[in-house]
């Protein structure tokens, strides 16, 4: 594989991009909390997927495979960014992408989710929002199954606490 595909494969890849770009971009936007950056990473995700497309044997597993590439690219970006300057900590709690016009509950959910560490947030999103099984999440995030289960359980606990607080209010 030299980074190019046959005409038929390119058509299949195009279908893959159209089918999954929305999920991948949403996933990355929530991880990055910066739409423009997330879209750049999403583009890189599909470029890398294109280079490795021949390695994808099961088309049904394409979604989890794309999430895996996206998450690796996100982690690479975070590592580079941390190495360059320690902006990550400064960004915590800023929520620049949360418009004030959103209904209160949506903003609160964003706050609750953004308060979770990135791996926990990723695991919760993939499992609950994108419907991936625990095993698929483990593959996508390159984590042991036990760690994924623990991340999801902790994330759910946080959401549960949020729901309870919201109901009380």
């Amino acid at each position: 594989m030299q980074g190019g595909l046959g005409h038929k494969s390119k058509r299949q890849f195009e279908a893959l991009v159209y089918a999954h770009q929305g999920h991948i971009r949403a996933f990355l936007r929530r991880l990055c909390r910066n739409d423009a950056l997330a879209d750049d990473l999403a583009q890189e995700t599909f470029m890398r997927a294109y280079q490795k497309y021949d390695a994808l044997s099961d088309y049904g597993a394409a979604k989890a495979w794309l999430f895996q590439i996206a998450y690796r690219i996100f982690l690479d970006f975070i590592r580079k960014e941390k190495r360059r300057k320690n902006l990550d900590d400064e960004r915590q709690g800023e929520l620049p992408e949360t418009p004030e016009s959103l209904p209160e509950i949506k903003m609160d959910i964003e706050r609750a989710m953004n308060a979770l560490p990135a791996p926990q947030r990723a695991a919760i999103m993939l499992n609950i929002s994108h419907g991936l099984s625990h095993g698929e999440v483990a593959t996508a995030l390159d984590m042991p199954l036990g760690t994924v289960k623990s991340h999801i359980a902790r994330g759910k606990n946080s959401l549960r606490a949020f729901l309870t607080a919201y109901e009380k209010a």
């Binding site: 195009e14 929305g22 929530r30 470029m47 609950i128």
Partner: protein
């Protein structure tokens, strides 16, 4: 770990908007337009490989050529000691020097050359 489907549905609804897919807005078309063309890519790789192999061959030939006079000089200086060899049973090599045997040997040699060139140059020969 047990999963509560009702609670999961509740969480799913709660995160419905949070993780909602982003509308395309030309993103897919842009990505597809950015993909490298396969033929151009292959051509570049082939050209690079040919240049490397050609450059390596030329460099090897130049180095070998510079060493040739030294080799000739070395050979001319060699004094082979006169060693008496034990008598060996005489081997009749004449069958190997017949025309059919020579043709087979030549064909085998050409086969080896063809195989090695295929390994090196692929189907670009």
């Amino acid at each position: 770990m047990m999963q509560d489907p009702i609670e999961d549905k509740q969480f799913q609804d709660l995160l419905g908007d949070y993780a909602a897919p982003v509308s395309d807005d030309g993103f897919s078309a842009y990505v597809m337009a950015q993909l490298p063309s396969s033929s151009a890519n292959l051509q570049n790789t082939e050209n690079l490989r040919r240049r490397f192999i050609g450059g390596g061959a030329i460099m090897g030939a130049v180095i070998a050529a510079t060493q040739l006079p030294a080799l000739v000089k070395l050979i001319s200086k060699l004094n082979v000691p006169d060693v008496s060899m034990p008598a060996l049973a005489s081997v009749d090599t004449s069958p190997f020097l017949t025309s059919p045997a020579m043709v087979v040997a030549a064909l085998a040699l050409m086969g080896v050359i063809w195989l090695s060139s295929t390994f090196i140059f692929g189907d670009q020969m």
